[in-house]
């Protein structure tokens, strides 16, 4: 795909994000978009956000569970970029007016203390390079109409990242069984779904190692201090005005977030 076309779709996604509206699935507009093209479109979309004043602060890993991989017909995760404008802290209220068609996912976040340079990174390297882990929510959102996404659509749309919320409880992954730690997601005081770390690529550390190796091949840096959202351990929760979510990671702690206002779609 030529650079003009890449820029065209990247700009279209940037405009849709800025104006809080959706566009038709990219694959309907251009059926021949390859996965590599989709990542180039994502880079263009994120470059536009960086040019408008945001910083890249980390990465998110998506499509890490078997049901989602089966749904999209792919057999590996994808990734997107986290920017400074996406960050919320535990206890914050998220204004749904800045989102289009949001859904929440409960995850484990990693914060690195050393660079991770792939290829050749293993799960053991990930644990070694991790400063701490946190319970977190990713609020996914899609700039594609009605979430009608194929893998190329979601990758181009920054892996459908919306915003994210970091918990305050820091855990040492050397003292925590991140593979077998349970995940309990409550919505408005009721249990909505439960999960376990192993649902993410066998272990969240495997997903982070995959990302380090994938970024290594693409020449994208993976730096100390970056936040990595390792992939969903819960069912997707649609959120509306007044909802409160709590996720709790066994042996670690909780992250709590509230929502107010109305999303665009």
């Amino acid at each position: 795909m030529n650079e003009d076309t890449i820029q065209h779709y990247g700009d279209a996604l940037y405009d849709a994000w800025r104006e809080c509206r959706t566009i038709a699935p990219l694959l309907e507009q251009a059926p021949d978009i390859a996965l590599a093209d989709a990542y180039r479109i994502q880079l263009r979309y994120i470059e536009r956000r960086v040019a408008a004043g945001e910083r890249i602060v980390g990465k998110k890993i998506g499509v890490t569970s078997k049901p989602v991989q089966d749904f999209l017909g792919v057999f590996q995760p994808d990734f997107g970029q986290l920017t400074s404008g996406m960050v919320f802290q535990e206890g914050d209220t998220i204004d749904l007016g800045s989102l289009i068609q949001p859904k929440a996912e409960a995850e484990l976040a990693f914060v690195l203390k050393e660079d991770l340079q792939g290829p050749g990174v293993t799960a053991m390297d990930v644990i070694r390079a991790t400063d701490y882990v946190l319970p977190c929510f990713e609020i996914v959102d899609s700039r594609i109409t009605d979430w009608k996404i194929k893998i190329q659509d979601t990758v181009a749309d920054n892996a459908s990242c919306g915003v994210y919320v970091l918990g305050k409880t820091k855990g040492d992954p050397r003292k925590l069984d991140i593979t077998l730690a349970g995940m309990v997601l409550e919505k408005n005081g009721e249990i909505f779904s439960t999960g376990v770390g192993a649902a993410v690529q066998g272990s969240p550390a495997n997903a982070v190692a995959w990302l380090a190796n994938t970024l290594g091949e693409l020449g994208i840096p993976f730096k100390a201090g970056e936040v990595i959202l390792s992939g969903s351990q819960s069912a997707l929760v649609p959120v509306v005005d007044g909802d409160e979510l709590v996720c709790t990671v066994g042996g670690l702690g909780s992250c709590r977030v509230k929502f107010a206002g109305r999303s665009a779609a």
Binding site: L180, M183, V184, T194, G195, V196, T248, G250
Partner: protein, 267 residues
Amino acid sequence: MSMDITLSREDIVRLCERVEGAQTRAYAIPKLTDEFPAMTIADGYAVQLELRRRFLAAGHKQVGWKAGLTSRAKMKQMGVDVPSIGFLTDRMARPENSAISTHDLVHPRVECEVAFVTRKALQGPGCTRQDVLDATDYVLPAVEIIDSRFSGFKFDLPSVVADNGSSARFVGGGRPRYVEDLDLPTLGVVMEKNGEIVAGAAAAAVLGHPAEAIAMLVNILAELGEGLPAGSFVMSGGITEAIPVKAGDSVIARFQELGSVSMRFVE
């Protein structure tokens, strides 16, 4: 039970013989409500109690109880708001890491559960989660091998209760722990079959807390005129969905903080 026993003594004995035959000789039978459409849950328990009486008379030793239908999703599916219970005997126990035969099972499926061993007697009604925790000696990881004896998986609650809550085999193992050393609701579990992860969840999937299922079990026992003796082994219900198994399959259930329980299935 809110409903009364509607079956005659003769019908209870006849249905019990039908279930006993299906369980001991491993064949599928139509659900009991095909013949008795008005059969109630209380009727189901009457058949189950007759089955237990016969097994105990034949020398089986009761080791405890199990709770079934303990997830909100399963209860909704069955149109009930309480779990079902079934009894467990020594003949259903299988050792950890052993080969379990499938030729004497109909539709075997495996579930990860937290098992409780009690050190004090519990008596309903009004038994609470805290009463259960106070009476618990220790918890351990377990796998229940359930086996519905009803053809084509067509069943309803009275039939399942009569079939002893689909109880068939169970395997306890792993690492015993005191409940006060654990946060049971957030305890993660993973079920692997032949080396592949086939299910994963946290123990809160069981009524928010596995001890809640034990409290409900004690309260159902009270309605049946019984208590839960000290020293009982009680399984609190599937945390993960039930996964079908057949001869040749190898299963391992891995629990956060509690170790693992493994077994393999043979002809």
